[in-house]
């Protein structure tokens, strides 16, 4: 693998295989997008919607996309791995987006070119990088990419690890422990680890009724924590920690009985110090926990490509001008989605989709010599405490003093929401999976 210096060199001084972008008509040009995930795909589609005369090329390693959002539903058999596959056909046929199925191995920001493993040099007027996350397996002593593929999957970027985790859950001994090691902030899909815990608990009630789910957490709170725990309490008899009880609706009372789902916070010794992959043991401050199935969601940073291209800062994420998401490091390069530093916006698919649209508009305006407009973004993360028990966080975001801030106000499902609303939120979560995929990819 190339180091960063080699990577930057590899982009320089090569004969151009692809034609230089034609910029005859004002406002047109060639926008190259690296990464065909939610951010990259949405950007490609909306660039073509905003200016059909633009040439838009997506460079993507895989022929189709595997969606991470909703992928915990594979564990419970609600959907299959095949259901996660999203085609790029509509972006090509309906919008005229060009695809190069290849990997970027070189980058020359001065010449505005990228180079692929297939030895193509591709010139751009504007470059969007949407590299997603990289999982920091090595940040947990005893954990590694190899362990994740064979023994203790993360299943956080859907694929072989999701399939392995599903297989392990099905094969778990009666009464076994499914242990989830939750990640520190910031990470992709803030309610995700807790939704996964809920769905596995629900699944075990039917298929392994004496089995248990245990969440070991390096944090003391999470997005949607009060409403999610109320769901666990109602559905699985989970005892709500004292510090949350005052927020609960009248009549909520802990039973004191053991529950099939348990959340160990940092303050209660939930932070993982190391793991033993052979025995599936997690060592925490509090002691050792032996798992039957061990699902480790490790710390995260920007996707590897962002590091190779020199787009990250000391935090491991990519600093950008918040108005357009143009990189603070390289001009004419934009970083969107989970890899970007977006302040109050969570690292979610919905955020990436909204960032892509703002960036697409900013690029179209820049190429046409227009001043950029005022940006606005929103995010909704639906999450399930059970198949028919939905909840959410919903926000609108604005630019404020150069940073992205949420518009103040209510953001969660009301704690006293009616059963009908809770059921409706679950129905909306399922509908959203469809409408969201369409808005990004079709």
């Amino acid at each position: 693998m190339l180091n960063r210096r080699d990577f930057l060199k590899a982009g320089a001084g090569l004969a151009l295989v692809a034609a230089l972008p034609a910029r005859a008509a004002s406002g047109t040009g060639h926008v190259v997008i690296i990464g065909g995930g939610v951010g990259g795909a949405t950007a490609a589609k909306y660039l073509k919607l905003y200016n059909p005369a633009l040439r838009v090329t997506v460079i993507e390693a895989n022929r189709s996309y595997i969606r991470p959002y909703g992928s915990s539903e594979v564990l419970t058999g609600h959907v299959s791995m095949d259901d996660l596959v999203v085609s790029y056909d509509a972006l090509k046929s309906k919008y005229g987006v060009e695809f190069v199925f290849d990997t970027v191995v070189g980058f020359d920001p001065a010449k505005k070119q990228v180079r692929t493993a297939g030895r193509q040099s591709i010139a751009y007027d504007k470059l969007i990088v949407s590299p997603g996350i990289s999982l920091q397996y090595q940040a947990i002593p005893g954990y590694s990419a190899v362990v994740a593929e064979t023994r203790a999957p993360s299943g956080w970027i859907p694929g072989t690890q999701t399939a392995l985790l599903t297989k392990q859950l099905r094969a778990m001994r009666p009464g076994g422990s499914f242990v989830i090691v939750a990640p520190p902030n910031p990470y992709r899909c803030p309610p995700g680890p807790y939704e996964r815990a809920a769905l596995v608990t629900e699944w075990m009630r039917r298929h392994n009724p004496t089995g248990k789910v245990l969440i070991l957490d390096p944090k003391d709170s999470f997005v949607t924590d009060a409403t999610m725990q109320l769901g666990w309490h109602r559905l699985y008899g989970y005892d709500i920690p004292d510090s949350y009880l005052s927020d609960m609706p009248a009549g909520v009372k802990n039973s004191g009985k053991p529950s099939p789902i348990e959340w160990v916070r940092a303050m209660d010794g939930g932070a993982t110090e190391r793991i033993d992959a052979r025995t599936l043991t997690v060592k925490t401050k509090q002691g050792a926990v032996k798992a039957d199935v061990l699902n480790i969601i490790p710390p995260m940073k920007a996707g590897k490509l962002a590091f190779d291209m020199g787009l990250t800062d000391a935090s491991g994420w990519c600093p950008v001008d918040r108005r357009s998401f143009e990189s603070s490091v390289h001009k004419n390069v934009f970083v969107i989605g989970d890899a970007s530093i977006a302040d109050a916006m969570p690292k979610s698919g919905f955020s990436a989709n909204n960032q892509a649209k703002v960036t697409a508009r900013a690029i179209v305006d820049q190429l046409a010599g227009r001043a950029p407009g005022e940006p606005v973004w929103s995010n909704t993360c639906y999450a399930l405490a059970g198949s028919d028990y939905g909840l959410f966080v919903a926000d609108v975001f604005r630019l404020k003093d150069g940073k992205i801030a949420r518009v103040p106000g209510e953001r969660y499902l009301p704690i006293d929401a009616s059963p009908a609303k809770i059921r409706l939120a679950a129905a909306y979560q399922q509908a959203w999976l469809k409408t969201f995929t369409e808005d990004c990819f079709a």
Binding site: K45, Y46, L49, F350, N353, N354, K357, V358, R361, G373, E374, P375, V376, W377, S378, T380, F392, A394, D395, V396, R398, V407, G409, E410, R411, L413, A417, K421, L424, A425, A427, Y428, Q430, A431, W432, K434, T435, F436, E438, D439
Partner: protein, 102 residues
């Protein structure tokens, strides 16, 4: 004097807001409408039944729905939270955008 000054500044601000249909720092109707698309479909067009299609909705209906969501008059799961993020002027700009989608 101080009080008078405050009053006149307030009056001026109120006048400016009333006479500027869209403030210079407001996002365009198109930009705001794009934030709805992740649930309500690109350009407000969609084929699931769970969400309201917004394409070609009359301006009046859109404005009333958003204002009622914001005030709580119309029950909602999360649309009350979302509507709270937009001003009356912005809601009208979004309404105009969706009304003109063919």
């Amino acid at each position: 004097m101080g009080t008078l000054m405050k009053i006149s500044i307030f009056a001026f601000a109120a006048l400016t807001a009333a006479f500027n249909p869209v403030h210079a720092a407001d996002p365009t109707g198109e930009a705001m409408a794009a934030t709805c698309a992740a649930c309500h479909g690109t350009h407000g067009k969609l084929d699931v039944v769970e969400f309201m299609p917004l394409a070609a909705l009359s301006e009046k209906e859109f404005v009333r729905a958003m204002q009622d969501f914001r005030s709580g008059k119309r029950p909602a799961t999360l649309m009350g939270h979302v509507a709270n993020g937009f001003s009356d002027i912005e809601i009208r700009a979004m309404a105009k955008y969706f009304a003109n989608v063919e």
